[in-house]
């Protein structure tokens, strides 16, 4: 699923010269039908999310449905000060830290695996299907297995050990699949040239591959961070006694019926949007810099 996401920005550069659709002739009637379908899809995709962002800004009389009852930041304050909504601040801290650790590991491990999978080697198919298995296995079942394993080994389950591993079993397959797409666009001639000029293997990775593949690596990081930050099923049985943010939200959906639930949704989505914006922005920036230095 990740292939296009990773090379999207790569295709930005020659975009203006070649349009996908035939550019001559009038619009057939199907265009209008499909344009309507597309618009409805986008509205259905974003509409509900915006409803809860709006509803989270109600005042103290606010409920779970429209109409809006006043507007204030009451439920945001409530979220971080009230005990009955749980330890939102602590779980927020843990989730961010965990997501950063997962991101770093995902980028490094996926990059190395991407290098490894460029050439066939004995047993590569086994590793590949192990990865696909890890991707499609039911998260809750894997989480329970990990929890039981830790129990059997006499280890304590916690967010930075068992939950970290359980999340990596989810983020790494995505990361490696993105690397597959990125690597398939990498021109091996550049690497060969580096060797011919006397570069060591490490030098060619550091000075040639990493700079060339930088946009792809940012995409891997985006997957690593957001998938970890929102991961739920695999963390449920592995996080130990301290909750991560999605677990906190899950327990709130079961017992909190005030707009503070929506306020938490708004806060966590803002974090996601900032991360997505920063990643996509930096990919575009790298591409722009490249195309301008190529011209100049």
């Amino acid at each position: 699923m990740s292939a296009v996401l990773a090379d999207m920005p790569e295709t930005v550069a020659p975009a203006t010269t070649k349009a996908i659709a035939p550019s001559k002739g009038g619009r057939p009637w199907t265009f209008y039908v499909l344009a309507t379908l597309f618009s409805l899809y986008v509205i259905a995709l974003y509409g509900p999310m915006f409803c809860i962002y709006i509803l989270s800004f109600q005042d103290i009389r606010g409920g779970l449905v429209f109409p809006m009852k006043g507007h204030s930041l009451h439920w945001f304050v409530d979220l971080f000060t009230q005990v009955r909504t749980g330890d939102v601040k602590g779980s927020f801290d843990r989730s961010i830290k965990l997501a950063v650790i997962v991101t770093v590991i995902t980028v490094v491990v996926s990059f190395l695996a991407g290098l490894g999978f460029r050439k066939r080697f004995r047993g590569d198919t086994v590793v590949f299907y192990m990865m696909i298995g890890s991707l499609v296995a039911p998260g809750l079942v894997l989480g329970l297995g990990t929890g039981l394993l830790f129990q059997a080994l006499g280890l304590n389950a916690s967010w930075y050990t068992s939950a970290l591993g359980a999340q990596l079993s989810w983020t790494l397959p995505f990361g490696v699949l993105v690397m597959f797409a990125v690597m398939s666009r990498f021109n091996h001639v550049w690497e060969e040239a580096a060797y011919d000029l006397g570069a060591s293997r490490w030098q060619s990775i550091r000075l040639v591959m990493i700079p060339v593949l930088a946009p792809g690596l940012v995409a891997v990081a985006l997957f690593g961070f957001t998938l970890s930050y929102d991961e739920f099923a695999r963390s449920l049985q592995t996080a130990g006694s301290l909750n991560t943010l999605p677990l906190e939200i899950w327990s709130m959906t079961l017992n909190v019926t005030s707009p503070s639930l929506y306020a938490l949704g708004t806060v966590t989505t803002i974090v996601s949007f900032v991360v997505i914006g920063a990643s996509l922005g930096s990919i575009v920036l790298i591409q722009k810099k490249r195309s301008s230095s190529a011209k100049g």
């Binding site: 930005v12 597309f38 974003y46 047993g123 499609v136 039911p138 597959f180």
Partner: protein, 292 residues
Amino acid sequence: MQPSQTPPRANLAGWLYVSPLVLVLVPFFVAPILVVLAASFFATDGFGGLTPGFTLASYVEVLHSALTLKLYLATIKFTVLTWIFTLIIGFFVAYFLVFHVRNQLLAIGLFLLCTVPFWTSNIIRMISWIPLLGKEGLINQALLGLGVIRQPLEVLLFSDLAVVIAYVHQLTIFMIVPIFNSMARIDKKLIEAAIDAGASRFDIMRLIVVPMSKSGIALGTIFVVSIVMGDFFVVKVMSGGGSASVVSAFYEDVGVLQYPNAAASAVLLTLVLVAIVSLILRTVDIRQEITR
């Protein structure tokens, strides 16, 4: 190149590069699956204690219970409905972006617009349907206001309908991306040639676009089917406890410490999932598909 012809040095280098990946997947994917498999053969004292041993009692119990059949039927119902809707919407959204949007930058922008919610919280996107579908939600308010209905519809939220809506909302992106990917690689000259040869637009769709998007459809199907079959929280929250699936029953079993039964049902589910995924994989070489 055949792996058997690979020189030993290449084998070693390959394994060195993927070793960190293997070092994560073995303890956190292979080992947990083996633990669950082992637990399914253990006996239990009913209080969460496991007695190592080998008994098929849990399998007998799971396979004999009428509940199992009901859970699988419910799971299959949700899976098939979600698959149909995500496939139809995903296919036509991808088709629109690839074949109808003429400016490629705009197509990429619209594509990203579709993908952004994928990187946000699924739970939040799920509960965001409450203000719309609830008894006093926007849809009921609108229908009441228009005089279409006299009583608010109660089937909108906390029902099977709400479960399917939430699945389609979350998973259509998994269809759009791979189908978009395979459609974008269809050579436009092929379509022009078909037009010149007198093909109708329906023929083009039937004979060129659909067959050449097959691999994307297969990939999307793997994602949608495995996620719906492995899900429990959408079923639990959006059905309001009224419906259950195989994994949500698993979750309840774990909650009351019925580990062997839960494990046996998980093993059965995994076998079903493996069978479905390998059937799909027979139609498409996923690795070649991704690297192409």
